[in-house]
């Protein structure tokens, strides 16, 4: 995994609340046996016509969306299915961070484990971001600060261990494997 220090990008705004992982990537694409190439299926039913052509009114199909690495969404992003294909698809498309006032537990976990930064912010910051799509924001993971173009700095919560892993580009499996003596002791005990 690439270490994450600073993410600087314009935002894409999808103001809907409760965007579930079935929308992020519909179930029919889950018969894959790899993680690669799911970006083209991201938001497939909102993004494409039945014939496969793009829906011009969908945000990802608009010129302003090109190159944006930060997705701002309404409350309760990523609810529903535990499919890790959702963060895989977002990352493959080019997103590096997702921002909402509330992010569903399993999706947040899955995102952290793949280097997609889930950022939970307050209502006022969310309202500003939703009212200002395309705003250039800076995310400083070391300081856990989101900076708006107004200069406003917003502190966001991030679990200490997950931040350590993301900053250093290491995954959690190495840490778990380093605990094998403790795991063996537990297995003996029970």
């Amino acid at each position: 995994m690439e270490p994450i220090k600073i993410i600087r990008s314009r935002t894409i705004v999808m103001p809907s609340s409760n965007i579930d992982t079935d929308q992020i990537i519909p179930g029919r694409f889950l018969t894959t046996t790899t993680k690669e190439g799911l970006g083209k299926q991201l938001f497939a039913d909102w993004r494409y016509q039945p014939d496969g052509s793009e829906k011009s009114d969908f945000i990802l199909n608009q010129p302003a969306a090109k190159g944006c690495a930060v997705l701002v969404a309404g409350r309760n992003l990523g609810c529903g299915s535990s499919r890790e294909h959702a963060p895989w698809a977002l990352l493959d498309y080019g997103f590096r961070a997702v921002i909402s006032t509330e992010i569903a537990d399993i999706f947040r976990n899955n995102s952290l484990k793949n280097g997609l930064l889930p950022i939970v912010i307050d209502e006022a910051t969310s309202a500003w971001l939703i009212a200002n799509p395309g705003a250039e924001v800076t995310i400083d993971l070391e300081r856990a600060i989101l900076t708006l173009p107004t200069g406003a700095e917003v502190k966001f919560p991030i679990e200490a261990f997950a931040r350590y892993c993301l900053l250093n580009g290491v995954d959690e499996l190495g840490y778990l494997l380093s605990k094998s003596a403790e795991i063996s002791a537990y297995e003996q005990r029970v």
Binding site: R28, T31, S82, E84, N110, L173, L176
Partner: protein, 468 residues
């Protein structure tokens, strides 16, 4: 000793390394259920790192999500229609052989939806930690297990170490007072709870369902309730084990036997939440006041009584978009809405008691003209039991479609789909846009409401038929 909740007791027992400010707990997993859809990339991880699967004895695999439900495709050698699904199924067969995991494969008499077979086989037990790469793993909490869904990376972690890194969740008590009235069931209760909590009301929490109505439920009803905890945002839902739990488990394939059984029961009895233990939050529900419930929108929190009407929310664009997708009007009554498809099945309502309810209502009736009623048992064991009781004849005589087990139309991965724009009354757990097929419009309800709606061809309060 500080009084503890059941969740805290199970959590404490499984901490290999306790959590600190800097590091999450290392939590031991007693049972890892796995299936074809969320495991391939986790097996690949083991290969890439040159790792073994640490505890094949605590791991069991089945196939359910992408499997066909047509008998000729399961047993007759007819090809599986979706090529990528067939490939995924074959990949699981390869993976379990390579890593030494027991597989209840496509033609196994014990195969079924992963959350149906865990309890059936007696693998699901009080006090266990149970995980699966599937959000409806919360189902197993009905036995007083701590059971939750994980992503594929975490599936790989459990394969390699039998452990997960976890932060301790908060606790939420849902106190269900009084008893449900006839025609109102566990599905109606959990839909009402989700309606009250909202689809993110349980985020960060483990729910414990308590109270008179919960105690009166059999295990299958309790599973229906715990199953949909995730639809309120809670990764896990739990119910204290009691005599009902023990009676269900006694004598099952993997249940403890003889003296081990007595010791297990004695231990399981200590798991219940202590008097005076504190929950981070509590809510109260009056069971007697509930009616049959049905969803009208595109998440499970958008729910009303079948006798009710769709809310009016001016200036709410998300709500308007949802109703536009559903083709429904604010303020309209939901009862009487024409229906095209009825689906009975899924890990929420695909157990034998669900099929008995459907058959009881369907007996002597016929599915309305133009309605496709699909009935998919949750497991092959459920299927055989239903056939032994003659329920399949009731379904087939009424014009319903009776299939082999699997997730089927709950998420349509196997090609069992609701056509675009059509209305489906479904006993499954998610009414998200496109869940049952592109453009499909899903109304979630109980097996009784779904069956009554199949008979009338319109959304129907089942009590009208029960009393008739």
């Amino acid at each position: 000793m500080q009084p503890k909740t059941m969740f805290e007791k199970v959590w404490d027992r499984h901490q290999v390394v306790p959590e600190t400010a800097d590091t999450p707990a290392v939590l031991f997993v007693d049972l890892h259920l796995t299936h074809e859809v969320t495991s391939p990339q986790a097996f690949s991880l083991l290969r890439e790192r040159g790792l073994k699967l640490r505890r094949p004895d605590l791991t069991i695999a089945t196939m359910d999500h992408a499997t066909p439900t047509r008998t000729e495709q399961v047993f007759g050698g007819a090809p599986i229609t979706i090529e990528s699904a067939a490939k995924q199924i074959r990949q699981l067969e390869v993976n379990v052989r390579e890593f030494g995991v027991e597989l209840l494969g496509l033609q196994s008499s014990l195969r079924g939806i992963v959350h149906i077979i865990g309890p059936e086989l007696g693998l699901t037990q009080p006090g266990k930690t149970i995980v699966c790469g599937d959000s409806h793993t919360s189902t197993h909490g009905a036995f007083g297990a701590l059971a939750f869904g994980i992503g594929t990376t975490e599936v790989g972690h459990v394969f390699a170490t039998q452990c997960l890194l976890q932060r301790k969740a908060k606790t939420l008590a849902v106190n269900v007072h009084g008893r449900l009235t006839p025609g109102v069931g566990a599905k109606d209760l959990i839909l009402a709870i989700i309606g009250k909590l909202g689809v993110s009301g349980g985020t960060g929490h483990v729910i414990e369902y308590r109270g008179e109505a919960i105690r009166a439920f059999d295990m299958e009803e309790r599973m229906t309730v715990c199953n949909m905890s995730i639809e309120a945002g809670a990764r896990a839902g739990m119910i204290a084990p009691d005599e009902t739990t023990f009676a269900y488990l006694k004598g099952r394939l993997h249940s403890p036997q003889g003296e081990a059984w007595d010791r297990a029961v004695a231990d399981w009895k200590t798991l219940t939440t202590d008097e005076g233990a504190r929950f981070d939050r509590e809510i109260d529900i009056d069971a007697a006041a509930l009616e049959p419930m049905i969803t009208y929108g595109t998440n499970p929190g958008m729910v009303v009584p079948v006798s009710g009407s769709i809310p009016v929310k001016p200036n709410d664009t998300v709500f308007a978009k949802s109703l536009a997708y559903m083709g429904l009007e604010p303020g309209a009554s939901i009862k009487g809405q024409p229906v095209n498809v009825v689906f009975i099945g899924s890990c929420t309502n695909g157990r034998i008691s669900d099929l008995r309810l459907a058959a009881q209502l369907l007996r002597g009736h016929h599915v309305a003209k133009g309605v496709h009623m699909l009935i998919v048992p949750g497991s092959q064991q459920v299927k055989r039991q239903a056939e032994a009781e003659g329920l399949d004849r009731v379904f087939i005589d009424a014009g319903a479609d009776w299939r082999e087990s699997g997730c089927s139309m709950c998420l349509g991965m196997n090609g069992d789909l609701v056509p675009k724009g059509e209305y489906s009354v479904s006993t499954s757990n998610r009414n998200f846009e496109g869940r049952q097929g592109v453009g499909a419009r899903t109304l979630l309800a109980s097996p009784l409401t779904a069956t009554a709606s199949a008979i009338r061809g319109r959304v129907t309060d089942p009590r009208e038929l029960l009393h008739a």
